[in-house]
């Protein structure tokens, strides 16, 4: 019975996402290729001082991305430090410097890791002026970078890959903003709040006192999911009834997370002139997505472990209105994209259930991944896959008519090394440096034994991959974790972006080589299998030892 219900909700998600694939993917392609500017965009370009007709080299595009993100980082940092002087601060004080840095890095880096409890730390002005703005623009940056890479494949013998300011503006105003307005209204209809009232105390039925929170939650919630950001307005994130009131809103939030990432392969196919290439990328994403989501749901429904067995089900940290299957679906989607929102507490998942969110992030969030970052992550793996295929048959590899030479393969290899290095080094340093280890063990870790190790591993995995979910028992609001995780977020976000844009520049400069009998076809099931295999094997070889110390040791 429960199995059928779980299958039915997964099927509904698949149907909705499939229905969106062509219209939304084609619309995105139109947005990023149309020669026409909207009137409001022309006004904006004039105010900002950019020429929408000019094109940028990859180096110039990188400079724009980094400068824009640096300004965002400083602005969010300053807003938090100045909180006490802002209106609607709810009487909350300025945020401490290390926490303000961590939060600024986290929201600019599309991660939304939260070392703090929002309802006790941030007033409404920081939430809307700082965090919500970054929820939009960090997502638009991810899409812009992905589109720039696709242009690299699509163009030939050119020095330019697009205009960052145009890509940023169009992604924000034509895609994220209208869908967010629509999504927010739907969420309000489901019961998500949208008001500016301060929390009010009421006398409960039993004669106690309860604080009823207020806040512009729905506007924040829609872009939190659509932009695969994930930062909750409240500490409990999408488990909080004011963020996610009922079964259907939870499914709607799942669809918001998946809509853009699963449609971008269509955009890619259209822009490179072959829808079959888009379907191949979609198939690889879909295969991993389906396998991981089904396995997590089966494992968690089984309810292994001392506490779940004693209670009769793995309901610790889960809401009655969702139950196991709607919680595992949400958790799986949230970590297979780069969202990191939760509607139940991953720290209280069964041991092997907690393994899957970690694995999903370690895969590099490519199935379907964050908005933009999922597509460029998968395309980098496709470059690796054709290289592996080329080695097998002894030919120079090509992808979409572009030669994958030493420069391309170096950039792709560096890309897949960045996040594992950050995850493993961050986790190792947390236990290797004596002073840090004391802080981590005495202050940060919440659960005893190997589960405590898993909390730290999860944190660095989440930060470096820009996810933002947590084994939330971990107290991350310490100088070490705020700083180390903040640095991991920034490096895990912007080093890969620089490498991807360099790859885009290198590909755009090449001419196209015609396909021959020796070219590996990249739109057939054989290539989908190769791509999926490369993704899984690279992850497994990198992370198996450290997983054996954490969730595998606890669960087996």
């Amino acid at each position: 019975m429960a199995g059928w219900l779980a299958a039915a909700q997964l099927l509904l998600v698949a149907v909705v996402v499939a229905a969106l694939y062509r219209p939304l993917g084609d619309y995105l392609a139109h947005v990023y290729t149309s020669p026409r500017d909207l009137r409001v965009e022309r006004v904006l370009y004039r105010l900002v001082g950019v020429d929408s007709r000019s094109e940028q080299s990859w180096r110039s595009y990188v400079r724009s991305v980094l400068a824009f993100s640096l300004v965002g980082l400083l602005l969010v940092y300053l807003l938090q430090r100045a909180q006490a002087w802002l209106p609607w601060d709810l009487g909350l004080p300025a945020v401490r410097p290390d926490l303000a840095f961590n939060t600024a890095a986290s929201f600019v880096g599309n991660t939304n890791w939260q070392s703090y409890s929002p309802e006790q730390t941030l007033g409404y002005s920081v939430q809307v002026l700082g965090l919500a703005v970054q929820n939009f623009v960090s997502a638009a940056v991810g899409m812009a970078v992905a589109v720039a890479l696709v242009r690299g494949f699509a163009r030939r013998r050119t020095g330019t890959i697009g205009n960052f300011w145009v890509d940023l503006t169009r992604g924000t105003l034509r895609v994220l903003l209208p869908i967010s307005v629509l999504g927010a209204v739907v969420l309000i209809a489901g019961g998500v709040i949208q008001n500016w009232a301060a929390p009010t105390d009421v006398t409960t039925l039993a004669g106690g006192v309860q604080s009823i929170p207020g806040g512009p939650v729905a506007s924040q919630e829609a872009i939190k999911l659509l932009g695969t950001n994930g930062g909750g307005f409240f500490n409990a994130n999408s488990a909080h009834p004011f963020e996610n009131p009922t079964g259907w809103t939870s499914l709607f939030e799942v669809v918001l997370m998946l809509a853009i990432p699963f449609s971008l392969p269509r955009t890619f196919g259209r822009m490179v002139g072959s829808h079959k290439q888009g379907y191949a990328i979609l198939a690889a994403m879909g295969a991993i997505f389906l396998a991981s989501t089904v396995l997590l749901t089966v494992v968690e429904s089984h309810g292994a472990g001392t506490a779940p067995q004693l209670a009769g089900a793995a309901m610790e940290g889960k809401e009655q209105r969702f139950g196991v299957a709607a919680t595992t679906l949400f958790g799986s989607v949230s970590t297979l994209t780069s969202t990191g929102a939760v509607n139940g507490m991953h720290d209280s998942f069964t041991a092997l259930g907690g393994l899957f969110p970690m694995l999903n992030m370690m895969l590099g969030e490519i199935a379907p991944g964050g908005v933009g970052s999922g597509l460029y992550g998968m395309l980098v793996l496709a470059v690796i896959a054709v290289f592996v295929g080329g080695l097998m048959v002894g030919r120079t590899p090509e992808y979409l008519g572009k030669k994958i030479g030493p420069r391309e393969i170096k950039l792709a290899s560096l890309y897949i090394l960045v996040t594992p290095t950050l995850v493993l080094a961050g986790t190792a340093l947390s236990f290797a440096v004596p002073a840090v280890r004391d802080s981590v063990e005495s202050t940060s870790i919440w659960n005893p034994g190997v589960h405590g190790f898993s909390e730290v591993l999860y944190a660095f995995t989440s930060a470096a991959n820009n996810n933002g979910s947590a084994f939330a028992g971990l107290t991350a609001n310490t100088p070490w974790l705020n700083t180390a995780l903040g640095v991991a977020i920034l490096l895990g976000r912007f080093v890969p972006i620089v490498l991807v844009l360099a790859l885009a520049g290198s590909l755009a400069a090449q001419d196209k080589v015609p396909a021959t009998a020796g070219t590996l076809p990249t739109s057939r099931p054989q290539f989908v299998g190769l791509l999926t295999g490369v993704a899984v094997i690279v992850t497994a070889l990198t992370y198996f030892p450290v997983l054996a110390l954490g969730p595998l040791a606890e669960g087996l």
Binding site: L12, A67, V181, G191, Q194, Q210, T246, M315, K318
Partner: protein, 202 residues
């Protein structure tokens, strides 16, 4: 007017872009959504519910404790799930327990809760369902399972001098989900149920 070339001009353009976008996304967007939310004021304001005297007693979306000042269960009310939000159902401190599956504190808590529920309801400890033994993710779960509600019907009916069937009818009226028959699972809204009981008592 051309695209920025130097690092400095990149920063100036970035700052201008961020300020313009902050006005659109950080001011206009939340205000627009607030305006649209006025079409559904009851929802946008938090689904507040009022008691017999017309005063707001809570939100139908947020669970509450039905205990006395010492934390002992009030037997005339249906009881909510255990909560890790502050001292229990603290609306300013939403949180799960985040205790792991092998954590001895969680194992002990489940055993204590099972004994307490079994004693309160006068039932076999093996009959206590999982949601009565575990804290939710938010600490503000407004619902309990239909099984846990069913377990509490005889006690509440006896305390209030009502026929069990009448109380069961109120439980059924407070039961919702799963949405569309398969999204999430069924649950009983505890605050709405207890409000209905109080209304019955006049």
């Amino acid at each position: 007017m051309s695209s920025p070339r130097t690092t400095w001009s990149h920063l100036v353009v970035s700052l201008r872009a961020m300020l313009v976008l902050t006005v659109i996304l950080g001011v206009a967007y939340p205000l627009l959504v607030t305006g649209l939310g006025r079409l559904l004021p009851a929802r946008a304001d938090g689904s507040l519910v009022t008691g017999a005297d017309g005063a707001v007693v809570g939100s139908s979306l947020l669970g509450q404790s039905f205990t006395d000042a010492d934390g002992a269960a009030l037997p005339r009310y249906f009881q909510s799930r255990p909560s890790a939000a502050g001292d229990g159902y603290d609306g300013a401190a939403s949180s799960g327990s985040n205790l792991g599956p092998e954590n001895p504190d969680l194992v002990a808590a489940i055993e204590d809760r099972r004994d307490a529920v079994a004693a309160l309801e006068g039932v076999d400890p093996a009959a206590v369902p999982a949601d009565a033994l575990t804290a939710s993710g938010s600490g503000l779960d407004p619902q309990i399972s239909p099984e846990y509600a069913d377990l509490q019907v005889p006690r509440v009916a006896a305390e209030r001098g009502l026929p069990e069937d009448e109380v069961r009818g109120l439980v059924a009226a407070a039961t919702t989900g799963p949405d569309l028959g398969f999204l999430g699972q069924a649950g009983v809204n505890v605050l709405e149920l207890n409000l209905a009981l109080d209304r019955l008592a006049g």
